[in-house]
């Protein structure tokens, strides 16, 4: 490579490095690009990956869009009689555009695996265990003690939902409750077809798969009420298979739990 080009390249690289570090230090202001920042520790881990990957993706896209636009504008046909030089390869360029994407992918893959291990990690002794069952067309949330005995139950009151979907947080749909800052394990099952247990603000969804039990943890970091949907199409009233989750302080959680009937349909 030519020396002058090398110097310029080094300057650009240094600029990129510094701006990256600056961004990393201000980690809490990572751009959202329209996504949720995550209301659980797991969701926050996902958000970080999302934000960084989207930045990387947009930078790559901007470069490629720029090259396309440049080629289209700079090399538009001005003189219909002039024939361009008929070159058709350049070994150096070809090696570069094969190698660089491989490196980028290596980096992205590393952080992907790291994040997915965080998101999927299961605490050995969760504070709360909730057995969630999806059915056509509703949900049941069964709170279990360490022996597996049901201590509280929240479920969809009407399996045949109203004709028009309301907001998932409204009272016609079941609302389950989680303690702030403690780890709850969800044990997810399906009673009939495939459903998708999806809480957008937690940046998480998982299938309720017939014949399979899926386990995952939520450790909420914000109080509030968050919408939940069935994400996987499950038949006629899929659009109305809604629910919500309310995150409260541990004290309030225990108080709520003690008022719940151990069985029976309460919403």
């Amino acid at each position: 490579m030519g020396i002058p080009g090398g110097a310029k390249l080094r300057r650009v690289a240094r600029f990129l490095l510094f701006s990256t570090i600056a961004l990393a230090l201000g980690g809490c202001t990572l751009p959202t690009f329209g996504g949720f920042r995550g209301a659980t520790t797991q969701g926050q881990a996902e958000f970080k990956l999302w934000s960084w990957m989207t930045m990387a993706g947009l930078v790559v896209a901007a470069i490629v869009w720029g090259l396309i636009l440049w080629a289209v504008i700079a090399y538009r046909r001005r003189d219909p009689d002039k024939m361009p030089r008929q070159f058709h390869s350049n070994a150096f360029v070809e090696v570069i555009y094969t190698a660089v994407p491989l490196i980028i992918i290596g980096v992205i893959f590393f952080y992907t695996v790291k994040t997915e291990n965080t998101v999927d990690a299961l605490a050995p002794h969760p504070a709360v265990t909730v057995r969630v069952t999806g059915f056509q067309w509703g949900w049941s949330f069964s709170y279990r003690d360490p022996q597996g005995k049901q201590i509280a139950l929240v479920e969809t009151a009407q399996a045949r939902p109203p004709v028009l979907a309301g907001n998932p947080t409204s009272a016609e749909y079941p609302q389950f409750v989680l303690p702030l800052g403690e780890t709850t394990q969800i044990v997810l099952e399906s009673a009939d077809v495939v459903h998708g247990f999806y809480i957008p603000a937690f940046n998480f969804s998982r299938y309720a798969l017939p014949g399979v039990t899926n386990n995952f943890d939520f450790t909420p970091v914000h109080t509030g009420v968050f919408a939940g949907h069935c994400a996987q199409y499950c038949g006629l009233y899929h659009a109305e298979m809604l629910f919500s989750v309310r995150v409260v302080r541990p004290g309030a959680f225990q108080a709520w739990l003690s008022t719940q009937p151990a069985s029976g349909a309460a919403t």
Binding site: F33, G34, G35, F36, L49, W50, M53, G57, L58, A61, V64, W65, L67, I68, A71, V72, Y75, R76, K82, M83, P84, R85, Q86, H88, S89, N90, E94, T98, P101, L102, I105, I108, F109, T112, T115, E116, V119, L164, A165, P168, D192, V193, V194, G196, Y198, N203, S205, R206, L209, P210, V212, N214, A227, A231, Q232, Y233, G235, L236, H238, A239
Partner: protein, 589 residues
């Protein structure tokens, strides 16, 4: 151009002058085994399915333009997105490429008189037409058309959850079109291996033909699995086979594995032909050879190979797949895809780029496909997929991809319409179609990325006003009106070209591959004579002797000569045409 100066003045397309009087009119149409007639039948049929599926998309967008919408019932809405997706994927994008354009163009590009198995080719078309019609007949049943989504996940697709004839018709339809695709795959692969004209070595084939070879192989890998899985599903529904039922010891998620083992390669079965079209169009309208031709061929092959081992990226949220493996394989596909992008850019680089309609559509493809590719990389990361799976983010992602393929299809229509009909399409109307489609596609689908990130699930018939999805949905629906107009203008363009024809001539684009060496439309059995094939651009070499690139050392005299069949005799005959100007200039001979 002196190339074909001494062929008969008028050759009616498909005229059977060599074979005496054959059937004519309707009878000729239904009995024809000519790849050009079948290719046109396929193209027209597929475009009709595209229009039907597009009409359903307009209904979907009308429904979603308002919160609490009651325009369509829940049930009708479910039928609409199921049939929209099924028609678009199974009956439009795939068939229009491998049954329509490839059927017509591949034999021409390699200098063959027809496909290797013309009768099998006809069978493919009739299976496709029959299957497609069966699927549509679902709307006439007392129950409903299929309404389990285009993926028909078990056990939603069993006889208890979705009973009735409509879903059965859907299954049987796809078994028929599955066989149709397999036969076409066999035909393409055989044709490309065995019917190339003398001199047309593998590494002189146009990229479109290369990609159709790889597509054909992928079809043979993917479609048999899908077709068998559909038979299993049918057995579950009617014979109580319990293959996908927990109650009988079956495994519901097996359906997802089988489906996506087909479904992901299918994505590339849909995409590779259009990559090919775009590659050739960009080279022609930049007046340059393809940049990095061999690299591109190997990129295509590695995309195809990798595509068979990424299927479970559609199943990250099932909780039962090996996340790192499928994520890594999915990321890896970005490398050969990136190579293609740089090939396309490199082809335009220092070229002389002319913005005729096919080239505009090719550029539209590049710009739009890039967005689909980048969002695809995000989705290949399991944690990001957990946050966005089954939301409008995914709908936006795959529509960025498929709309770019539609643009590439239009690049192909505008590029080859003159060859197929002998008439030009109007440039003005073509450019209007292009701009409306480019703007329409992005106005329709960009807001859907944001909707998905805000948590709007896909396949929901309605949402509440308080969900906060209304504004973005309205923008999206407005964009779909632009898409509607764009397609309408294209249809006007076709009508105008019949009403007031502009003759096309043999080679209106100054293109370089063999199909441009024959008349428009080509005569029965395609060529009366073939120019010498000394490089990837035989027609270009002939027309631009100063600007040709001849591979020196490797040019075997005569190249790879096809053996056996009618084709050989015919080709051998037409190739002896005496005046070979290139012959005398080639330093190796």
């Amino acid at each position: 151009m002196t190339l074909l100066a001494d062929r008969p003045a008028v050759v009616e397309e498909g005229s059977d002058h060599e074979h005496g009087a054959g059937p004519s009119g309707f009878l000729k149409w239904v009995t024809s085994t000519d790849h050009k007639v079948i290719g046109k039948n396929y193209t027209v049929t597929a475009v009709i399915f595209f229009l039907l599926a597009g009409a359903m998309a307009m209904l979907i967008r009308a429904q979603l333009a308002n919160p609490d919408s009651t325009l369509l019932s829940q049930h009708t809405y479910n039928e609409m997105f199921t049939m929209h997706g099924s028609l678009m994927i199974y009956l439009f994008v795939g068939p229009v490429a491998f049954g329509g354009l490839a059927n017509y163009i591949v034999p021409l590009q390699i200098g063959a008189p027809d496909m290797a198995f013309p009768r099998l080719n006809a069978l493919s078309y009739w299976l496709y037409l029959g299957g497609g019609s069966l699927m549509m007949l679902g709307f006439l049943t007392t129950g409903s058309a299929a309404d389990f989504g285009w993926v028909a996940y078990a056990p939603l697709s069993n006889s208890i959850n979705t009973p009735g004839a409509g879903p059965d018709l859907w299954i049987v339809a796809l078994i028929l079109t599955g066989f149709s695709a397999i036969f076409t795959g066999v035909n393409l692969v055989t044709t490309i291996y065995y019917l190339r004209a003398p001199g047309m070595t593998m590494f002189r084939m146009p990229i479109f033909t290369w990609n159709m070879l790889v597509t054909g192989i992928l079809i043979l890998i993917a479609f048999p699995v899908f077709t068998s899985a559909l038979v299993l599903l049918w057995c579950d529904r009617h014979l109580g086979a319990h293959i996908f039922e927990v109650s009988g010891g079956g495994v519901p998620v097996l359906w997802q594995d089988l489906f996506w083992f087909f479904g992901h390669p299918e994505v590339y079965i849909l995409a590779l032909p259009f990559f090919g079209i775009v590659t050739d169009v960009i080279a022609v309208f930049s007046r340059k050879p393809i940049f990095g031709y061999r690299g591109m061929v190997f990129a295509t092959m590695s995309i195809a190979a990798l595509s068979t081992s990424v299927w479970a990226h559609h199943m990250f949220t099932t909780g039962v797949v090996l996340l790192p493996f499928f994520s890594l394989m999915s990321y890896l596909i970005a490398v050969p895809t990136g190579i293609k992008f740089f090939n396309w850019i490199g082809t335009m680089w220092r070229g002389s780029v002319k913005f005729d309609t096919p080239m505009l559509f090719a550029i539209g493809f590049l710009v739009t496909f890039l967005l689909g590719g980048v969002s695809g990389i995000l989705l290949a990361s399991p944690p990001v997929d957990f946050a966005t799976h089954d939301t409008y983010f995914v709908v936006a992602h795959f529509h960025s991809v498929v709309m770019s393929l539609v643009m590439a299809a239009f690049a192909g229509f505008f590029f080859w319409y003159p060859k197929m009909t002998g008439r030009m399409l109007r440039e003005g109307l073509g450019k209007a179609t292009f701009w409306l489609m480019l703007v329409g596609a992005n106005v329709t689908f960009l807001p859907q990325y944001l909707l998905g990130l805000k948590g709007m699930p896909r396949r929901i018939a309605e949402y509440a006003a308080s969900d906060g999805f209304t504004t973005l949905n309205r923008i999206s629906s407005a964009g779909s009106v632009l898409l509607f107009l764009s397609v309408a203008i294209f249809l006007v363009n076709v009508v105008v070209s019949w009403w007031k024809p502009i003759p096309a001539g043999d080679n209106p684009w100054d293109a370089s591959s063999l199909e441009w060496a024959t008349s428009s439309p080509p005569p029965h059995h395609n060529f009366l004579k073939i120019p010498p094939i000394r490089s990837q651009r035989p027609v270009w070499d002939y027309n631009h002797p100063e600007d040709r690139i001849i591979e020196h050392a490797k040019a075997r005299p005569g190249g790879f000569v096809a053996s056996g069949g009618v084709g050989t005799v015919l080709l051998a005959d037409v190739n002896v045409d005496g005046e070979d100007t290139l012959e005398t200039r080639d330093p190796d001979r």
